[in-house]
Symmetry: none
Subunit: 284 residues, 2 copies
């Protein structure tokens, strides 16, 4: 598959409007991720110590994504030049690997921030994390060979890689759904609704990835990627879809983690308050 | 040896795929090191004060590496230009010294972070650090003259420098292995498994450096480096090998140091808790 890389990349021609949608969404993603990093880092002091690791990891996830979207945008600008008829390729390839490098680093960390905020018993947290991190790595590694296919003849291979990648993908969603549902009973009442919401946000934002992957890999999209003079809207949809999904799944999900941490912090406190009177006589 | 430097560097021709693997792994290393720096710096507040110097030094190590990989990547991009047949040299040399500057600064600090987290008695820590820092400096200084050899005729000289550099290299591994094994008895139970793991990670990640050095210095690789029209995969293997080893030996090793610090922090705490009842009557 890999020898199929052309020497000069043949990026499909784009209208000024198409080019700018992608360029602008990349910039907005940089701003969103950077702002989210500031929020999670500074928000640490607003939750109890037990929940600070979860916010720290949430902040690191969006900081990594901020770096990658900055580089992705540069690669986009390097790949295109403005001409009389809109934007056409310069011969430099748009670098898909940035996004995969980002996912390799951040998706396992997303699992860590979620498990950290739940504060499950140590043994259960460890076995859960092992399963999730291994599956996340497999999912991303299996998706990449399909993602870099850029010719209509590779469509079948792309579908196969996408299918293989979907196995750990659905496994992760299943494990998270079951675990989040199980953990609800042990969570303070105030956090339950938020965890139910996190469960839903996870399902919806993660659903965007296979859809974007499919949109970017239709035979027409692959023909556009190979420089064919067809409509390039599949490429645009892929980039915009991934960017929006990344903002929701990293910054949006992190905000939910923050609210769960806040709710659990004040639940722990009021619990502490009710036990104080019991301790007071004993201490006296 | 040094007068053999040509004015214009003759970088071997690379395919787009070969160039991109190296370029992408450099970018991913920048992201990994930067994320690790954030993690270690913020993680200081999650361990007891006694272990904060170890995390601070871990963070400084990866911050230095983040800077150097950013510069290494720039040097890589300056050394190559995309043409009709893939990437060929621009005449600017790829700067190997960045990596050696990084190692001169970070390898002694890696020894410091390890000795700091063990919290050995002051006298023993000092004598151990002196041995390790001197050996680390000798190891890097002796490796560099071999690394910059870029002609097949220099192969013997490269092997000799590599051999000389291996003496302090194996001395460091020997000293660390013996010291880590000795320190196990004095460490809290929860930290022992982690220290055994750190001992193993050290041995495995450090083994990559001589292997990468050897791969980048085969007669074929040196011929490619001198601009010969042979396969340049040795150069690619060298860069990828060093980058992965640096990520594991600095960011990965630092994460282990963090877990050791966490385990020892809570061991110190529970020790404190069990002595409290004994102290309470005495205080009353």
């Amino acid at each position: 598959m890999l020898q199929a890389f052309p020497i000069l990349a043949q990026m499909p021609d784009l209208t000024v409007f198409q080019y700018n949608i992608v360029d602008n969404i990349f910039s907005m993603t940089v701003a969103t991720m950077g702002a989210a990093a500031l929020f999670f880092f500074m928000g640490r002091s607003l939750v109890k110590e037990a929940y600070r690791p979860a916010l720290m990891v949430s902040g690191i996830v969006v900081a990594i994504a901020c770096y990658h979207y900055f580089m992705i945008r540069h690669s986009w600008q390097d790949a295109y030049a403005l001409g009389e008829n809109g934007y056409s390729g310069t011969g430099a390839a748009f670098n898909d690997f940035y996004r995969y490098a980002d996912w390799i680093l951040t998706v396992p960390l997303l699992m860590v921030e979620l498990v950290a905020v739940l504060r499950l018993p140590a043994g259960r947290a460890r076995s859960l994390l092992t399963k999730l991190v291994v599956a996340a790595a497999a999912m991303i590694a299996l998706g990449y060979p399909g993602e870099v296919i850029a010719s209509p003849e590779g469509w079948t291979a792309r579908v196969i890689w996408g299918g293989l990648s979907s196995v750990p993908f659905f496994y992760i969603l299943y494990v998270l759904w079951v675990e989040l549902t199980n953990s609800l009973k042990t969570q303070p009442k105030a956090a339950r609704k938020l965890i139910e919401l996190a469960r839903l946000v996870l399902l919806i934002t993660w659903a965007v990835y296979p859809i974007a992957y499919a949109l970017g890999g239709t035979p027409a999209a692959l023909e556009a990627k190979a420089g064919g003079s067809v409509d390039a809207s599949g490429i645009v949809a892929l980039q915009v879809g991934y960017a929006i999904a990344d903002m929701a799944a990293k910054a949006g999900f992190g905000v939910l983690i923050y609210f769960i941490a806040r709710a659990k912090s004040s639940a722990d406190e009021s619990e502490g308050a009710t036990t104080d009177p019991t301790l007071a006589p004993a201490a006296a």
